[in-house]
Amino acid sequence: RKEKKYIDQCWKDVTVGDFIRLSCNEVIPADMVLLFSTDPDGICHIETSGLDGESNLKQRQVVRGYAEQDSEVDPEKFSSRIECESPNNDLNRFRGFLEHSNKERVGLSKENLLLRGCTIRNTEAVVGIVVYAGHETKAMLNNSGPRYKRSKLERRANTDVLWCVLLLIIMCLTGALGHGIWLSRYENIHFFNIPEPDGRTISPVLAGFYMFWTMIILLQVLIPISLYVSIEIVKLGQIYFIQSDVDFYSEKMDSTVQCRALNITEDLGQIQYLFSDKTGTLTENKMVFRRCSVAGFDYCHEENAKRLESYQEAVSEDEDFIDTLNGSLSSTAKPRSHSCRTVHNGPLGRNHLAGSSSAPGSGEGASEVPHSRQAAFSSPIETDVVPDTRLLNKFSKIMPQLFTPLDETIQNPRLEILYIIDFFIALAICNTVVVSAPNQPRQKIRLSSLSGIPIKSLEEIRNLFQRLSVRRSSSPSLASGKEPSAGVPNAFVRTLSLFSRVKLASPVEKEISQMSESPLGSSNSTCHADIEKQSGDAGFANGKVESRPGQPLVSNLCYEAESPDEAALVYAARAYQCTLQSRTPEQIMVDFAALGPLTFQLLHILPFDSVRKRMSVVVRHPLSNQVVVYTKGADSVIMELLSVASPEGASLEKQQVIIREKTQKHLDDYAKRGLRTLCIAKKVMSDTEYAEWLRNHFLAETSIDNREELLLESAMRLENKLTLLGATGIEDRLQEGVPESIEALHKAGIKIWMLTGDKQETAVNIAYACKLLEPDDKLFILNTQSKDACDILMNTILKELKKKNQASPEQTLLNGGSLQPPVPQDTGLRAGLIITGKTLEFALQESLQRQFLELTSWCQAVVCCRATPLQKSEVVKLVRSHLRVMTLAIGDGANDVSMIQVADIGIGVSGQEGMQAVMASDFAISQFKHLSKLLLVHGHWCYTRLSNMILYFFYKNVAYVNLLFWYQFFCGFSGTSMTDYWVLIFFNLLFTSAPPIIYGVLEKDVSADTLMQLPELYRSGQKSEAYLPLTFWITLLDAFYQSLVCFFVPYFTYQGSDIDIFAFGNPLNTAALFIILLHLVIESKSLTWIHMLVIVGSILSYFFFALAFGAMCVTCNPPSNPYRIMQEHMLDPVFYLVCILTTCIALLPRFIFRVLQGSLFPSLILRAKHFDRLTPEERTEALKKWRGSGKMNQVTSKYADRSAVKSGRKPMSGPSAVFAMKSVSSCAVQQGNLSVCETALDLCYSKSKVSKIA
């Protein structure tokens, strides 16, 4: 604080308490509280892509009390005290207060905090005071480093490496012992026990001890160190191929699969449990406004639905259509807009008046947006909403009524109008959407403050406005405030609101604008004529088209919302010409076509949180000047908060009740159709009430201890006695190919759980839609309020299931106590389990875990609804640790991050909800349907390839090293190697390293098509068939056999001859090379020219090396001088004969085994391999046959099982049982909050029914 001015400093020198001044596009060096922004509203925009990857702008606010300052904060005058919580890693929480010198406290929240790592955008300069610096910053605390995931296969391989170490030690011990014993026989023979330089001879015991270490050096190749390097290389290759798979390419996002974790590709082939998020993962998370219910009337928006259906084809035609209309309309519209623009010096070209007057549909103009490349945020599907004709008709009919004197007698339509108006206003403003103009990306539409604003005149205008509005608000209803004459008040109000909004205060311009009133009025009427005409004949076109000509500037609004459904609602509102124009912390501007631009003074925002499940805005209504609370939230929550007794009399109250019932009916209907429902409600408050609440709220805000609870209470005080306006149904469409993918994954034996935060009905519907649940599945619903009840219910269901599934053999296994994942049931009965968040909490408790898992193991699909992110991760953790299975979690949002991190493989869907999931994931895909290929094809390949390669590596090392070991028996265990050291080193490093890597990258046991067509093949990976402990030992045994052959065939050949050591080693090496390479050929299921090239290259390089070494090395590399050995051997026919014989004998058993396996007991994969050879026609035929035989198998086994075990009981008639169970489920679905007893009762009932039927 001593410095008078800011000085440049390194990041590392920043300390707590420093004042920092940053300019636009600078990265924030420490967590700091924002004290000043050049933005007149006290806003600072930051981009948090460095933290969470989201590239949309976020607003941060200057601490209250500082925002009003015009000049920059002077650090020297700063005398306040900041108190905040100790550093923590929660990015979304910051609590603290700022105490001024006069003991006045101002609460600090995350809105005031600039986090390290973010970038300042769109703000010229900001000043802040550092509260956390260095490692205490939230960004650093969050940086726990990447979680190192080790694949199951690698863990398996690691244990086997340990076995190799044990083997090595045994072999070395043998060598040491042998040498000791051997030497003790010849202790005094100086031939063998060559004395030390000083003439001493060492004792056999000591020599044996030394020999142990010599042997370790000699045989250490047994431990496949190179294996790890090769695994990494192979994984890189696999990832390369995954990433370059063109099937993963998504045209829309221009993205393909991203492999972020480099070392767990093979886990993709072993997944047993899949945990999926619903929103954005199974569904597109492109919220499409589908239906709404206002004041008890349901508006279907059928055209919208139709449009969605045919969207893809229609796109191009639409464009043409727009273009032609463009031309026709521009002639009339353009001049007008120009005239308007001259009148209003609307900064940034967003000329409001012109927008609303000259081009009637200007509010929407949605079709402009698709041209932007911001596909993620404003794809045409979301932004285009075709208004429902009925509602539109109501709109257009109603609009003029607003300007006519109100007839008190026709109350019904009036009320409805009010509801509709309020409804759309709520849609438009009850959110946290940031408005930006697409043509100026990252530039918030804001009215730039004109430099010379005479405050005085502004005040005057405000006063005037207030007077007027007060006068108007005296009349009971909103509309009644309108004066009889149609044009004038409209324009008047508009002008006023415009002034207050624009802060356009220069009197001259005011006059100009007032002068423009009359032409405006006239133009306005023509507009209405327009709109009616348009909506009459082409109601659906006007929304999209008319706005464009002449007014591209206005229509070019981009909405950036934190959640896509908010944006969907705003776009929907825009379709009804209720356009959100701008949003600042103080006010929201809405362009309501018929009412003109309205400016709402924003009093307060209670942001959305998952506990309250709602958000509210408190605004001062510009027309009525009342304090109005608009609340938007989950239906269950809102319905409870509705006012029981309305003060406005019995009829109104009755109407409310009717509306409520009707809306509830609509809501249920929406939910059944899988729509996401939201309720919109409002509440009018008196100023005193509001002031009272505000005071309490401030107290809550400034407190540090249990602030959350206080804030929650405070919100509860505000959000009650609401008046229901209506409800919206937003469709979250299933992604393309989701049902097929889920079906395939099911067939692959993967258990799929859906974990979602959505409500039960929506979740179940989506589950049906995506074939997670089959129509004839039995549904069990766990929805209880207490732990005991949960326990009882689970028991009941379990009994039920067991009774029916007695036949299945895994039951005994389960009862036996070992919590093994049962074999996926192919036999008839399928069951689905639905569990709600609350019950999940009980089920996850220690005592019920086992039971819960047992229960879920019986079910094909489990749906967890209303699950919190933490619960999601807990479920994954539970399943992963207790069932010891491979889990995969897939999600797209920040709420899935914990789940993604916990699972063995986390997959992020790069969708709409930011990048957090992708950042936390191991693989990022763009669509759910890619998952099936990722798992079924690449997972299978990667797993098979890598496991075979690892086994091959073990084999290779053991086979080769054992040659040395066997030789020890003939050299007195003295540690002699019969091979030149260089060959020994290069054998692993060069001559036999490339083929297994190529094998690991390119091996293809079954073609991709077959794998996709026969998901059953995936099960081999789940059972780790390619690499079982037994396989390892068999491989090792084979290696031992081969090395024995490879040693003893040359041994017997050269026994007693005059061959020297290194000449003896040469045929051993050569034969070993051929054996090892041809072994690979036998194991390979497909050989491309690359394989051939590498294998031939390896052999050639070996010979080249041996020949070159033999030719040039005269005295080098003592004592194992290979001079001319290879050359001599190449001229010796015996050498060739030995090599051929050795190779044949060594490979014969494995070859025979493979042949017998291929013809006598082929595995599924081997059988599937035949498919690749068939022509397409034969192939489909064979597929049919395969399926048929599979079904036959299933059926026969089913019958066998049943007949074997169910001696007394007849098999139940399937459909009736299902029916009974279905009735239970449907009951549960409709009643929502079903108590335990009822469910249990129902279950009993259904059971009795079932048994009767049986």
Partner: protein
């Protein structure tokens, strides 16, 4: 006004809502390699497909085996053990170190005459010439005639590197333990007239060893001068420059020495000692009959239970006598033939099912 226009220009100029998108897409190339669709040979190992392989192996291996076997059987070979551990052996007397020099004579009979060139080997058993520390106890540079190494041999030669402050030439345990028996062969004629068999000393080592790898140190005419400043290995009776009278076979390039320096791979081995060249096509090199083997017995092997042998052998294209290779070839050939038959049966039984996918598990 002006502001308005400038804004408008900006609007028109800038691309709408585009945060600098690149025209290049990230679509992966659709090539056979990248999409893993390379044409591949996909062998399916079933009885039917591999049948020919087995028969072919059988058909090739059996004749080869027979050929080798016959060749091996045609090789004449005789081994004479002259260790002298048995009391009856004439060389028994030489076991005691007191008798020096000890000369013993063993007589043996060749039942059949040896045709062609005959190789004379000495064979040692239980002699671990492949012991690690023994094997490395040599200095190739010294043997290659390097004068530095001659006077300052490699450390590997310890403890046979220096003797009485003089460098040993040739140094090391291998050289030190060089075989030093002398073998002479006499054909016993009709009247106990002994005909000495001419034994050729040269041509028993690899040509490259003798001419490239092993070289006498440079220097004066006299070999003794060249080896000046060195001393003989401890166990040797005479220095290295007195191994032979022939200048071309003396010093480091003495072929007996070179042969010895090529350490044997296995504890029982033979090393070429002399060549008995065929002198005419008409007479066998070694006619059947009685022979005397005259041994100057120097080399002690009984301390480590070793054996010494003298071997006479004719050779063929495949080297010495070795029945193993031929038998192994015949056996493998037969086995693979047999397997072929078994697979034929299997193939017959499962033929229908192996080609289609619908066999039940």
């Amino acid at each position: 006004m002006a502001m308005n226009y400038s804004v408008k220009d900006e609007v028109d100029g800038g691309p709408p809502c585009a945060p600098g998108g690149t025209a290049k897409t990230r679509r992966p190339d659709n090539t056979a390699f990248k999409q893993q669709r390379l044409p591949a040979w996909q062998p399916i190992l079933t009885a039917g497909t591999v049948l020919p392989t087995f028969f072919i192996i059988g058909l090739i291996f059996i004749p080869i085996g027979i050929g080798i076997f016959v060749t091996s059987n045609n090789i004449r070979e005789i081994e004479i053990d002259y260790t002298g551990t048995e009391p009856s052996s004439p060389c028994n007397k030489c076991l005691s170190p007191a008798v020096t020099p000890c000369i013993c004579t063993i007589n043996f009979t060749l039942e059949e005459s040896f045709e062609g060139n005959v190789f004379m080997y000495y064979g040692l058993s239980n002699f671990y010439q492949n012991h690690r520390r023994y094997v490395k106890s040599r200095d190739d540079s010294q043997l290659n005639g390097d004068s530095n190494a001659l006077l300052n041999p490699s450390k590997e030669c310890e403890p046979y590197r220096r003797n009485e402050d003089k460098p040993i030439a040739p140094c090391g345990a291998i050289a030190n333990s060089m075989f030093n028996d002398t073998l002479e062969l006499f054909l016993v004629g009709n009247d106990t007239y002994l005909t000495p068999i001419p034994l050729k000393k040269k041509g028993i080592a690899w040509w490259t060893d003798k001419n490239v790898k092993f070289r006498n140190p440079p220097g004066g005419e006299n070999l003794e001068e060249r080896f000046k400043g060195t001393t003989k290995p401890v166990n040797w009776l005479k220095p290295v420059y007195m191994l032979d009278s022939d200048l071309d076979n003396n010093g480091f390039i003495n072929e007996d020495f070179i042969v010895w320096m090529r350490t044997a791979a296995l504890p029982t081995f033979r090393k070429l000692y002399r060549l008995i060249e065929r002198n005419s096509d008409l007479h066998p090199t070694l006619p059947a009959g009685r022979y005397y083997l005259n041994i100057t017995y120097n080399y002690p092997v009984h301390s480590f239970d070793g054996r010494k042998r003298m071997i006479l052998s004719t050779i063929s294209w495949m080297g010495g006598k070795n029945p193993f290779l031929g038998i192994a070839y015949i056996a493998v050939g037969s086995i693979s033939f047999l397997l072929g038959v078994v697979l034929l049966v299997i193939n017959h039984k499962y033929r229908n099912s192996s080609n289609t996918a619908d066999i039940t598990i």
